[in-house]
Amino acid sequence: MLNIEFLQSKIDQKFSGKVIDFAKAVGVSKQAAYDWLNQKSSIEERRVFDIAFALDLDEAETEALIGVPQTVLCFRKKGMDSADPVVRENSVNLANTFFKIDASSYILKDSFTLDVRASELGTIAKLIRQNLQIDANIPLTFKLLLSELNRHNICVFFIPFSRLGLSLSKSSNREVAFTARKGDRMLVFVDTERTKDEAVFDICHELTHILLGHVDPSEDDERLCNNSAQELVYPKKFFEAHPNELEVFSNATKHSWARVYEKFAQLSRDFDWSPKGLALALRDYGFIGKSSHEFRRLLTLEKTFAKGRKTVDELFFQRFDPSALDTLEAFFSDDIQKDPDIFRPMIELKDAAAFGHLSSRKLAEILTIEAGDADEIVRSWRSMHDESQDDLNDPKTEE
């Protein structure tokens, strides 16, 4: 069903409302065009392209014509600059690929509050916690966050950004996460080159964008999202509820380096915290001073712990190597079976290609491999699926 109101507005715009000129451009009779506009007859599927062509619509307008909401992206970039146009285009393209594969997927559940007007940090963090049904004094962790988001049908897609052209540089000022929203459908993309603690922070940052309905966030919005993420990962109430435990970090005269190291190691097993994140939170909540010894001690500890912290990429995406086809195939046949939460985007790409909802050339574009190679890989996936179906249908298997 086409959006007739939108169609009429575009005819007004392009043809000054002259239906006869519009009909001519589409290649139908004036009466046929009037019947469409008066909803006396439905528009044949193959005419939609001709209509969009005659009206000179762009992709978003074509979507509006067929009643599909526009895709809106919100980036989290280290360095706060706005995203590079190439990165933005590639990101929209990737998000749209997932949205197009299945129009009924990623629909946010009603219980998740959206687009609220709030500027007070406590209120924002509280609303996010209410949405996720997590108590105020519990720090959000990687595992907890993923399972709660799953419950609301908000998928977090871990994607190797630099390998798929979604970030331009490996250093500072690069995109590390973004949210894609299409009407009531939502996806959060996170770079696999983030450690778990960074990913948790990124996701919480994106959740704040989602809650506040940001479209083109300002620097102030970005700061607010960072502060909200900090409150979610390092909740002030948790600090207030555990003064004795956290005193280790706020009283250097009483506690040795060894004790600080040991205590942080214990906390990092329970929570996805970094010494730097903890230092900033303790500073911002007034437990330690900005240039205090305690603050600098935690920043020094950051370097020690950073060496041992692995990125999502190092933990899970080692065999996602488009330059080595055999390795890439092994990744898609074995690795992605191991954790459906982490590998969901890869599982969706594989299934869509195998079932004919994603062209093998498109898969080749996404994975940056040759079209012929992608075609053969997709055929092998399809035949594997057919074989497993045959096994299921074989009565001998049931015995």
């Binding site: 392209f49 992709e59 978003a60 599909v68 994603l358 062209s359 498109k362 079209a371 190679d373």
Partner: protein
């Protein structure tokens, strides 16, 4: 010697062949499939399909491993005579086609599966649309999007071309059956609905009419 691409005659109906159809025709009675005067129109190949097949000759290519060099070279030879100069559209026009197709990839119904395609897929559809031609492809996603961009009956498959050749009595039943076996041995299978169409063309009396 490289042949000069044919210029498109506006009066000629064309069937633009995707690389996946070209390779199947190269295995399955190429002497008939590339020479047949199809009722759908005259076969045409865009240089993007030829470039794609040429890329199959890379030493590490999966297609090279599957088909071997002689067959790929044969395919290139067969389609070189069909290469057609489609007169490339201006960048702005190409972008206009692409962005509308991108919008239509969503599917018109909420329950409908989408059909994300690549730039090469969209180019093939663009030429078919612009030149009022048919597109012969085995790629399911491209076929789905194609039905929204050009008329349903102008989205063809390798099997449609085989059926046409059977109806013109250019292929015998034993030839068809033996070459389908060859295709299968080479790892190229027919589309299920296409297989039924071929079967119906070989044995028209056995076809059960839909009630």
């Amino acid at each position: 010697m490289t042949q000069k691409p044919k210029s498109k005659q506006s009066s000629t109906r064309l069937v633009i062949c995707d690389s996946n159809v070209i390779i199947m025709m190269s295995i399955f009675k190429p002497s008939v499939m590339f020479k047949c005067k199809y009722t759908f129109g005259e076969l045409a190949v865009h240089k993007s399909a030829i470039t794609e097949i040429e890329r199959w000759l890379r030493p590490d290519s999966k297609k090279l491993k599957k088909f071997g060099k002689p067959l790929i070279e044969d395919a290139l030879r067969y389609c070189s005579s069909l290469e057609t100069d489609f007169q490339e559209p201006a960048l702005a026009e190409r972008e206009k086609y692409h962005r509308i197709m991108s919008g239509l990839e969503n599917g018109l119904l909420a329950a409908e599966k989408g059909m994300p395609t690549s730039t090469v897929d969209k180019d093939l559809l663009l030429y078919a649309k612009k030149h009022n031609a048919s597109l012969a492809t085995q790629e399911q996603t491209l076929r789905s999007l194609g039905r929204k961009v050009i008329a349903h009956d102008r989205i063809l498959s390798f099997e449609d071309l085989v059926v046409d050749a059977i109806r013109q009595k250019l292929l015998t039943e034993s030839e068809v059956r033996s070459d389908i076996d060859t295709l299968t041995r080479m790892g190229e299978s027919l589309r299920t609905d296409g297989q039924h169409k071929i079967e119906a063309a070989l044995n028209p009396r056995n076809v059960v009419k839909k009630t």
